[in-house]
């Protein structure tokens, strides 16, 4: 387990150094090479990861690139190398992040802090449960609505959903506390081993 944790901690550290490197390099060939390298490292998952990365950055980059292009055309001085630079860099960073997210065991990498580890593991599980609930609420509203809703009703529905999530969160926190207590988490913590 320790070896597993060390491996993932090193992976996280390598990723952070890689990110600093990608933002310190301004040579198009090097950035292009970095993008190809991450693509090769992704192996068979490359098209799927590339698609996820593209979806994550495409709108913002499109807005920035088109605005820059229009402003440059207006001035009569288009710097194509900037457009290539920023898009290559963002693509390489984004693909690297999705590559990392696919490979890293974040909870193992964060073994140096039990508090952070517990925080993230509980939060991670809750996020998926709550996202499902939110989709259910949205579908329920759609299925009960004929025509379009007033703005006021939409806000009341969003607020009710948010308040429900807060209420449920507070209730769940109590239950999770009981579960952690029953498993001796707080005994370890008070003995100085659990919480870092």
């Amino acid at each position: 387990m320790i070896r597993h944790a060390t491996r993932h901690r090193l992976l996280l550290l390598a990723y952070l150094l890689w990110v600093v490197l990608l933002t310190s390099v301004h040579d198009l060939r090097l950035l292009g090479g970095a993008l190809i390298l991450v693509g090769l490292l992704s192996g068979r998952a490359a098209p799927r990861l590339a698609w996820r990365a593209l979806r994550a950055f495409v709108w913002f980059n499109l807005i920035v690139s088109v605005s820059y292009l229009l402003a440059s055309l207006w001035r009569g001085d288009v710097t194509w190398s900037y457009l290539a630079l920023i898009n290559l860099r963002v693509a390489a960073l984004s693909l690297s992040t999705f590559w990392l997210a696919e490979r890293i065991d974040l909870l193992a990498a964060l073994r140096f802090s039990e508090t952070l580890r517990y925080l993230l593991s509980i939060a991670y599980g809750q996020i998926f449960a709550m996202r499902r609930l939110l989709v259910d609420f949205r579908d329920a509203l759609r299925s009960r609505t004929v025509g379009s809703l007033r703005l006021r009703d939409l806000y009341r529905q969003r607020a009710a959903a948010a308040a429900f999530l807060f209420g449920r969160g507070l209730r769940d926190a109590g239950e999770i506390t009981l579960a952690m207590r029953s498993r001796g988490f707080f005994d370890e913590e008070h003995a100085g081993r659990g919480c870092a």
Partner: protein
């Protein structure tokens, strides 16, 4: 509103990491000084709530929409330090799960949204709230929601707007975000003046609904 990866120069994000790390440690120490059995599960669950809350679209007049940030309600109910720490966790998870925001922009987003946004929300709420006066409390909550969006938008605009001056090639070509303050400040702040109204309305509605269940959470804060 948060900044994606790749548009902030290391000259800015590395010092921002150092600054944010100091504040994360300080906030964590203060939270841990009051650490009770419920603290970790509560913070984890609230992280999840805010993560999901940020995916709620706020419809705006004119057919557009923006996303809730939830930082005002979080800071008002649980304090600025908890708000700052949880918003950082939310931004980290968003970067890793959704690819939204990013690792290089994380400290700036955390300082702007989680730090300044939470501070502005709690400050304005305390300043405007009138004890036992529902109308003033409502106004304070709407204002808190509004400033929790507008202040971070202004800070993010400044962070982006200084990039061309901070990192550029010898011929002046930008290397990160290309537009200066004259463009970023109005482009980001003006739409968020409207988004803030939506956030304010949502903050008021959530606060009222949560307050009605306050007895359930007595002792959490």
């Amino acid at each position: 509103m948060h900044i994606p990866d790749g548009f902030i120069a290391p000259q800015m994000y590395l010092p921002a990491y150092a600054c944010a790390a100091g504040l994360w440690l300080h906030a964590l120490r203060r939270v841990r000084a009051k650490l009770r059995e419920e603290t970790i599960p509560l913070m984890a669950v609230l992280t999840a709530v805010v993560f999901v809350l940020m995916s709620i679209a706020l419809p705006l007049p004119g057919g557009t929409s923006a996303h809730a940030s939830g930082v005002a309600i979080l800071a008002i109910l649980f304090g600025v330090r908890v708000g700052f720490l949880l918003m950082t966790l939310v931004l980290l998870l968003q970067a890793l799960i959704l690819g939204a925001g990013g690792i290089t922009s994380l400290p700036i987003n955390a300082l702007a949204i989680g730090g300044a946004g939470a501070l502005a929300a709690v400050g304005s709420f305390r300043l405007l709230r009138g004890a036992g006066r529902p109308r003033r409390e409502a106004l304070a909550l709407i204002t808190a929601g509004w400033v929790s969006v507008v202040v971070p938008a202004a800070l993010v605009a400044i962070a982006l707007g200084v990039q061309p001056a901070l990192a550029h090639a010898p011929d002046g070509t930008p290397r990160f975000f290309p537009f200066g303050l004259a463009i970023t400040v109005p482009a980001l702040v003006v739409p968020h003046l409207l988004v803030g109204v939506g956030e304010g309305a949502l903050t008021l509605l959530i606060y009222r609904l949560v307050a009605s269940r306050r007895n359930e959470r007595a002792g959490w804060q």
